[in-house]
């Protein structure tokens, strides 16, 4: 009986201890994020669909500049470029000569805003910002990587994206992967490499000059 009590106490103590360590790791990572001014990386995007027998892999590059500018480019030459600013997001499909513009300001509502929010979901600037949008489901460190499992707080965002996870290197605190799981069983994983913290980054990177022949649509508006 005494052994059992001792064992359970030790197990409980160890679990508590591990959780404290993981929380500390998360805080360190978030502190590093807070101080980040700009960031860029190359990535491999792996999309898995229940309706496809093989995953779809695409190479790409991502750039971030504080406070909220992003540029995602898929494919080389680019097959998709997504640029996000504080007020709007522009997604350009060069091959299709098509572009879509989405309003993201305070007045904008609807599923598109939630979808566009995913573009910066891997880059929380603070613990408060993270917890405002996500519930931290689990933190687990293993093999030099810390995996953070999140669940969107908003019902509608959750309907769009039930779960997501972020992985960062425990030593460098650099983001190593982000993964989004969709309700239909499909997922999208970005595996980052060649991370550069605070590189010099011109504002033009986040501006897109669309050729005249490109048709611009605003799906979020009627």
């Amino acid at each position: 009986m005494a052994f059992a009590l001792l064992t359970s106490t030790l197990v409980g103590f160890n679990s508590l201890r591990a959780a404290e360590v993981d929380e500390a790791l998360l805080d360190r990572w978030l502190n590093a994020q807070t101080n980040l001014v700009s960031w860029s990386a190359e990535f491999t995007q792996i999309r898995r669909f229940p309706t496809l027998t093989q995953p779809l892999k695409t190479q790409g590059r991502v750039s971030f500049k504080a406070p909220s500018s992003f540029r995602w480019q898929l494919g080389e030459p680019a097959r998709t470029i997504a640029v996000r600013g504080p007020e709007e997001a522009l997604i350009y499909y060069p091959k299709l000569k098509r572009a879509e513009r989405y309003a993201l300001g305070a007045e904008a509502t609807g599923p598109w805003k939630d979808a566009m929010a995913l573009l910066d979901a891997g880059f929380p600037r603070s613990r408060a910002q993270l917890e405002e949008r996500f519930e931290v489901v689990a933190i687990a460190a293993s093999g030099g990587t810390c995996r953070l499992q999140l669940r969107p707080r908003g019902v509608r965002a959750r309907r769009l994206l039930p779960r997501m996870s972020l992985e960062f290197d425990v030593k460098t605190l650099g983001l190593s992967a982000s993964e989004f799981e969709f309700p239909d069983g499909s997922s999208m994983r970005n595996e980052y490499r060649n991370l550069k913290a605070d590189p010099a980054m011109a504002d033009e990177v986040f501006r897109l000059s669309l050729p005249a022949e490109v048709t611009v649509k605003e799906p979020g508006a009627r």
Binding site: T80, K95, P111
Partner: protein
């Protein structure tokens, strides 16, 4: 009696209680029709909306889901939808897609089907893979893996449909904290009681759900939607009826008891009031079929008006105990009849208006007022008469000290001949009221008309509060307006929707609307379905090949599940039209039922339009005018509850002109007929104008305004104002301008009337419905204004005028002379009609006309009855019955006379040959024959009887009233060879008559109505009677034979009866007494015949000297 009871039961059984406020409104207005169509045809109108509101999105969503699941567990709940049903039933989406594609234009379907060709299909699959790898669009990511052939990318406008799994704007507010659960009952909620039970059930279950978990208490639930509105409105109205009518009856009882302290008359009054309500409700069942809740206000109006009649009768009955019930009826029956007629006319005019609710109210009050007056006049007093003590009973409301100063205690006669005018205090009161009215109107102005649908709503309504909160929380672009398209079939409506889409696109691009939702994407289109059916079949055949291609492109079999389900759905598609063509999926059917409907008349579609930034009422009205259109059998209507007020106000404005003028003319005409005096009619109008001013001033001071529902106060004020004014003015006439006596008999009764009626209306102010409350308040003020004007201001005004201006002699009718209608114009008209119409019709018309004249001239009838009393041994009942016959006889006599004067052969046959011998015998004496007759039967017909035998006849007549009338009558006789001599015009005329008699001719004269100053008093039926002495004078001058003759109508026709010549001593005629005795002798000869035919003794002016007729 049994028949009457059966009719009552049948009428009451036919009556339906209608709680739908829209049925109060004119269906010819597009906005009303639009709302009615929406309510009648679209399922969303039957949905109960259970709302939950929480501090955060997650709590609200969890609460909505939990509550919906709980409600679904009940057998009586058909559906409880807390989110888009397509989220819960993924199988429904392919069904919907199949339906949409099948109804698309054939060219669109053909274009999609081409994508299934082998080469195009491989390209589509490759493109889908590429997009899946590179798109950022969550919609494309979700869609393309399961729909590589683009079935969900319906061309055109279907993207605006609510089938996006993420789009559930119907169920959640933009911030997610307000959720709406659409709940539908399994049973049909046809009756308002069903709705009430259903809402009670939901309310109970929501409360239980909330109690089950303390956390749920932080959630704010609410219930609204069509069934909730119906339940609240109808049960509220029912409660109003149950509350206000007994309250009004109790108030009436209390006031009556306080005034008269008698239980029996009160009990009998309440019984009769109940009977009047039953009769009116039964009549309502036959006339209007259903009574709207708001129209139920008629019950209170009716109680108020009918009790007035009873109180006036009772007051008169008490004030003159000797006169009995019949006397009281005679005294005030005229006034009651006419006031009932004017009130009925005023309310009846509402039936001509555009608002069915007011028309119902008007018809019910009009019918009820007339039947109420009849019931009260006939039945109220007789039972009381049998039981009452005949002691004079002073009116407790009378000030005895004032009475003692001016009149006798028994109240039947003033103490002296002086007339008591209104007291000074009354005059000051009237003056004060006038000053106050002018000051109030000058200070606050007249009350305005409020144009809104608020009066149609309950005063306090949870359903409306929840609905308003929902509108604020859910709507992003203001309250949407409903857009309805109708047509004879689905193709016509589909075509109309297409036109509307173009128009709405334009309006949106102009910024006049912010958004719209049209169901054209899901609307069935029979022609398209037929055209697409073959291509759909070919698509099914290509499925195995598509599976192979998908596999080769790296797609799993699951990727074609949607495509296969859509194609299978096409194979199952029904071939029918309308609802029969709908897919099986309940979710899809429900979606369709929200926006698509059919009935025997055609097809309907429902859409929504959100106004632009400027969403003012005027902008909405302009939008409705621009979007709404009618083209043959097809129509588009933009409607909204907020437009109702504007549109109805416009209809009311048009009604005011259309109805107001005829109604005013009718009331004016009735007033004239009632008073027979333009002066009194003008007084009545002045009284009305003053009452209206007082009411306006009171409304202005209280901050009330005119609304759609309190407009009936206008006819009510008109009706009661006229009512009180007629009663008061006739009372003043009866009492020769003696205000105190008029007050004692009628004014006090009217005070009771006004008190009871205004209390009855004030009871309505407690009503659950805002409109009824407004109606009650304004009507109560209107009643008091009408009373103050008629009883206080009007006598005061009359007293200020010179005596010659203010008093009309008599009791309301001039009965000393012939009727005013007796003149050349009416006679000529009668002659013209007699020439054209068949004799049988004329006789019937004549009898009817006589009865009508009697009813419209009760004062004249009293004269006739008084004239007849001595002939029937002073038997009042027999005299009254004989009078009724007399009027009918007179009507028939008139048409006979017209036919006679028009040249038709209307003759009288001698009763027997001896009659003629009396004449021959008289003639043989050679001194001429004087034929004397009373005003009995149709004496004129005797002329041809003589002239046809070659005799010459001279008729002595007085001049007829008015120009040309005498000539007409003279010509009429001349047509039959009868000469006329007008006596009184020519002083030598008498000489001519003597000459004719001396020549042996026949002369005829009437003996029983002498010229003024030419009569002698004889005895007839035991009473002094003035008869013409002319016969005796002529006998004295010529020694002519005097032959009494009468022509009366009997069953076989007109019969000439000749009595034996009257023997006399010519020498005795030298003295006046001798001539009087001869006259007496003649009248004595006539008496048996007069007693035999009293109903043909046509005396319409008072004939008995010293009598009170």
């Amino acid at each position: 009696m049994a028949g009457l009871a059966a009719a009552l039961v049948l009428g009451v059984a036919r009556l339906r209680f209608d709680a739908d406020v829209l049925n109060l409104l004119p269906a010819k207005l597009d906005v009303v029709r639009g709302l009615q169509l929406r309510q009648a045809h679209f399922s969303s109108a039957d949905d109960t909306l259970v709302t939950v509101e929480a501090a955060d999105e997650s709590t609200a969503a969890a609460a909505a889901e939990s509550l919906a699941l709980r409600l679904r567990s009940f057998e009586r709940v058909a559906a409880a939808e807390w989110q888009s049903p397509f989220l819960e039933d993924p199988e429904a989406l392919p069904e919907l897609l199949a339906w949409i594609w099948l109804n698309r234009p054939p060219e669109e379907f053909a274009k999609w089907a081409q994508g299934l060709q082998p080469d195009r299909a491989a390209e589509s699959l490759a493109a889908a893979r590429e997009t899946l790898a590179t798109t950022f669009s969550p919609e494309e990511i979700a869609r393309l893996g399961r729909d590589p052939f683009g079935l969900t990318r319906v061309p055109g406008n279907v993207g605006e449909l609510d089938f996006d799994p993420l789009a559930d704007a119907e169920h959640r507010s933009p911030d997610g904290r307000f959720r709406v659960i659409l709940v539908r009952a399994k049973e049909s909620l046809r009756d308002y009681r069903d709705s009430a039970r259903w809402i009670e059930f939901l309310r109970g279950e929501v409360a239980t759900w909330q109690e089950e978990d303390p956390d749920r208490r932080r959630v704010r639930p609410g219930i609204t939607g069509g069934p909730a509105f119906v339940a609240e409105t109808a049960t509220g109205m029912e409660a109003d009826l149950e509350k206000t009518t007994p309250l009004a009856a109790a108030a009436i009882a209390l006031v009556f008891l306080a005034a008269h302290r008698r239980l029996k008359p009160l009990a009998w009054l309440l019984v009769l009031l109940t009977a009047i309500l039953c009769v009116t409700v039964a009549a309502g069942g036959f006339l209007v079929g259903s009574v709207n809740a708001v129209s139920l206000g008629f019950a209170v109006i009716l109680l108020g008006v009918s009790v007035d009649h009873a109180l006036v009768l009772y007051q008169e009955f008490k004030a003159d105990p000797g006169a009995g019930a019949a006397g009281a009826r005679r005294a005030v029956g005229w006034g009651i009849s006419w006031s009932a007629a004017t009130t009925a006319a005023a309310f009846g005019s509402l039936a001509l208006g555009s608002l069915p609710g007011l028309a119902q109210l008007g018809i019910l009050v009009a019918v009820g007022t007339l039947s109420g007056a009849a019931i009260m006049l006939l039945f109220f007093l007789p039972p009381l008469e049998r039981r009452r003590n005949h002691k004079p009973d002073l009116n407790p409301v009378v000030c005895h000290s004032e009475l003692a100063a001016t009149g006798s205690e028994d109240g039947t006669q003033p103490r002296s001949a002086q007339v008591a005018g209104p007291p000074t205090a009354l005059k000051f009161a009237a003056l004060g009221l006038a000053v106050l009215t002018v000051a109030a109107l000058g200070w606050r102005g007249a009350p305005r008309m409020t144009i809104s649908d608020d009066p149609l709503r309950p005063a306090h309504s949870e359903a409306i509060d929840v609905s308003d909160r929902m509108g604020t929380r859910m709507s992003q672009a203001g309250d949407p307006m409903m857009l309805l398209a109708t047509g004879p079939d689905e193709t016509a409506v589909a075509d109309r929707l297409k036109e509307m889409r173009e128009k709405l696109h334009r309006l949106r691009s102009e910024g006049r609307i912010s958004d719209f939702l049209l169901p054209d994407g899901i609307f069935p289109h029979e022609r398209n379905r037929k055209a697409n059916a073959a291509r759909a079949e070919r698509a099914a055949e290509s499925l195995p090949r598509l599976r192979e291609l998908a596999k080769e492109a790296g797609f799993s079999p699951e990727s074609l599940a949607l495509t296969e389900q859509v194609v299978r759905s096409w194979q199952r598609a029904e071939k029918g039209t309308g609802r029969a063509s709908y897919p099986d999926s309940p979710v899809v059917r429900r979606l369709l039922e929200k926006a698509v409907a059919f009935d025997d008349s055609g097809a309907y579609a429902l859409g929504l339009v959100h106004p632009g930034e400027d969403s003012s009422l005027e902008t909405r009205r302009l939008l409705a005018a621009e979007i709404g259109s009618t083209d043959g059998d097809s129509q588009s209507i933009l409607a909204g509850w907020d437009l109702l007020g504007v549109e109805i106000a416009e209809a009311v404005r048009q009604d005011a002109t259309r109805i107001g003028i005829p109604a005013a003319a009718a009331v004016l005409a009735l007033l004239f007929v009632a008073f027979r005096s333009w002066r009194d009619a003008a007084f009545c109008l002045l009284s009305l104008a003053f009452a209206a001013a007082v009411l306006l001033a009171a409304m202005s001071l209280c901050g009330w305004s005119w609304t759609l529902i309190n407009l009936p106060a206008i006819p009510l004020l008109l009706g009661l104002g006229v009512d009180y004014s007629i009663h008061m003015q006739l009372a003043l006439r009866r009492h020769r301008g003696d205000w105190l006596r008029a007050w004692r008999t009628t004014g006090g009764a009217l005070a009771l009337c006004a008190t009871t009626t205004s209390i009855a209306f004030a009871a309505l102010a407690l009503s659950h419905n805002q409109g009824l409350g407004d109606l009650g308040r304004v009507c109560a003020a209107g009643v008091l204004s009408a009373w103050a004007s008629a009883v206080v201001a009007l006598p005061a005004l009359r007293s200020l005028l010179p005596a010659g201006w203010r008093e009309d002699p008599g009791n309301g009718e001039e009965v000393e002379g012939p009727a005013r209608i007796y003149g050349a114009a009416a006679w000529s008209l009668g002659l013209a009609v007699a020439r054209m119409a068949p004799a049988e019709w004329l006789a019937a018309l004549g009898r009817m006309g006589g009865s009508l004249y009697r009813m419209f001239a009760p004062g004249r009838e009293q004269v006739v009855i008084a004239n007849l009393l001595p002939l029937v041994d002073n038997d009042q009942r027999r005299a009254s019955a004989t009078a009724r016959d007399l009027y009918r006889e007179f009507g028939e006599k008139l048409v006979s006379l017209w036919r006679f004067e028009a040249g038709e052969a209307v003759t009288a046959r001698p009763e027997n040959e001896s009659d003629w011998r009396h004449y021959e015998e008289a003639k043989r004496a050679g001194n001429g024959v004087l034929l004397v007759t009373p005003h009995l039967g149709n004496w004129e017909l005797g002329g041809p009887t003589l002239t046809e035998r070659g005799e010459k006849l001279l008729v002595l007549s007085q001049a007829e009233p008015g120009q040309g009338f005498t000539d007409i009558r003279r010509a009429g006789r001349a047509r039959w060879g009868v000469e006329t001599l007008i006596v009184g015009d020519d002083m030598f005329a008498f000489v001519g008559v003597i000459k004719r008699l001396q020549d042996g001719d026949a002369v005829a004269l009437l003996i029983d109505r002498p010229e003024p100053g030419k009569g002698v008093e004889v005895e007839l039926c035991g009473r002094p009677f003035l008869a013409s002495v002319a016969a005796a004078e002529l006998a004295r001058a010529t020694g002519c034979a005097i032959v009494p003759v009468v022509i009366v109508r009997e069953a076989a026709g007109h019969v000439l009866k000749t009595l034996p010549p009257v023997a006399y001593d010519r020498a005795a005629l030298g003295s006046p007494e001798g001539r009087r005795e001869l006259t007496q002798k003649i009248m004595r000869d006539f008496e048996p015949t007069l007693r035999q035919h009293p109903s043909q003794w046509f005396q319409f002016i008072p004939i008995w000297p010293g009598g009170d007729s």
